[in-house]
Symmetry: C2
Subunit: 169 residues, 2 copies
């Protein structure tokens, strides 16, 4: 059990409340993400693809910035550099992304979406849209907007606390 300082909002002071581990922000975050992945897989599979959420995020970012390297890609979607290597490996294997050694910096690999990759993005776009709608389906539109705003705000304050902080372009 976890004890936590909670403002009841009713009587204007803090009380110590007993809190179940399944009601902590960390646990709820894991649970929401777990469901998000499951919904994504179901929707995308129904659209005839086996792309994962991470692969999709990488593919869209590469499509938006052709020629970017893996480290920049990782930073822009807040992934660990090591992880991105494997993700790109699989995208290359599937023929959706081309990876070539950069002429300007021979350490770097330039990434580009192939024609098959473009086709794939177009093909699954509706499924990805539907995924986001399903994830918020338990909330009213007003609540959903509030939820998104608060999640962004909470994350923004903590960006530098993970190994893979978001590095905006």
């Amino acid at each position: 059990m976890i004890s936590m300082l909670v403002n009841t909002g009713h009587i204007g002071y803090n009380v110590i409340m007993r809190m179940d581990a399944t009601e902590t922000p960390g646990h709820l975050a894991r649970r929401f993400q777990q469901i998000a992945v499951a919904v994504f897989h179901a929707q995308v599979e129904a659209a005839g693809s086996d792309l994962t959420p991470v692969q999709y995020a990488a593919l869209t970012k590469i499509a938006a910035e052709p020629g970017l390297d893996q480290a920049t890609l990782a930073g822009q979607i807040a992934y660990d550099r090591t992880t991105i290597g494997g993700v790109v490996d699989r995208l290359v294997e599937k023929g959706l992304v081309a990876r070539i050694v950069s002429a300007k910096d021979r350490r770097a690999r330039e990434l580009r979406v192939t024609e098959a990759g473009q086709v794939m993005l177009t093909k699954i776009a509706p499924a990805v849209d539907e995924t986001q709608r399903v994830l918020l389906s338990g909330l009213s539109e007003k609540e959903a907007a509030q939820f998104m705003k608060l999640m962004k705000k909470a994350i923004g304050a903590l960006n530098d606390l993970s190994r893979a902080p978001l590095r905006e372009g």
Copy 2:
């Protein structure tokens, strides 16, 4: 890029908005969870332990319900049964949990926290509390309460959509 139906709230009807993939609920969920894990590790390591978030969740649940089996444990903290097997393996290796074949049902394994496990729980409790506070540190108390409420509501509506739905005792 993702297009999504969004209520602006200002003019009372829906418009199609261009939405960056890093601003979808799925991506924000992953990001928040990623940070939650990083903060947990940092806090718990500072307290002299290498327990992971999943191991901690399992350990607290076993402490709360001595003798429960792995499938029930998995359901009560919303984990996949296969995953829980490995998690318990590591808790047993560390000497924090005892696992014995149930006399009543020889398929099942009864789990109990050892004395070392109890000591560990007591030792890292403050670090776990602090983790939850850090995760909400970007929000006011009112906002934090609202955020938690909305996340619970969104999750509650989707519980059955993942392979590992929450099965409350």
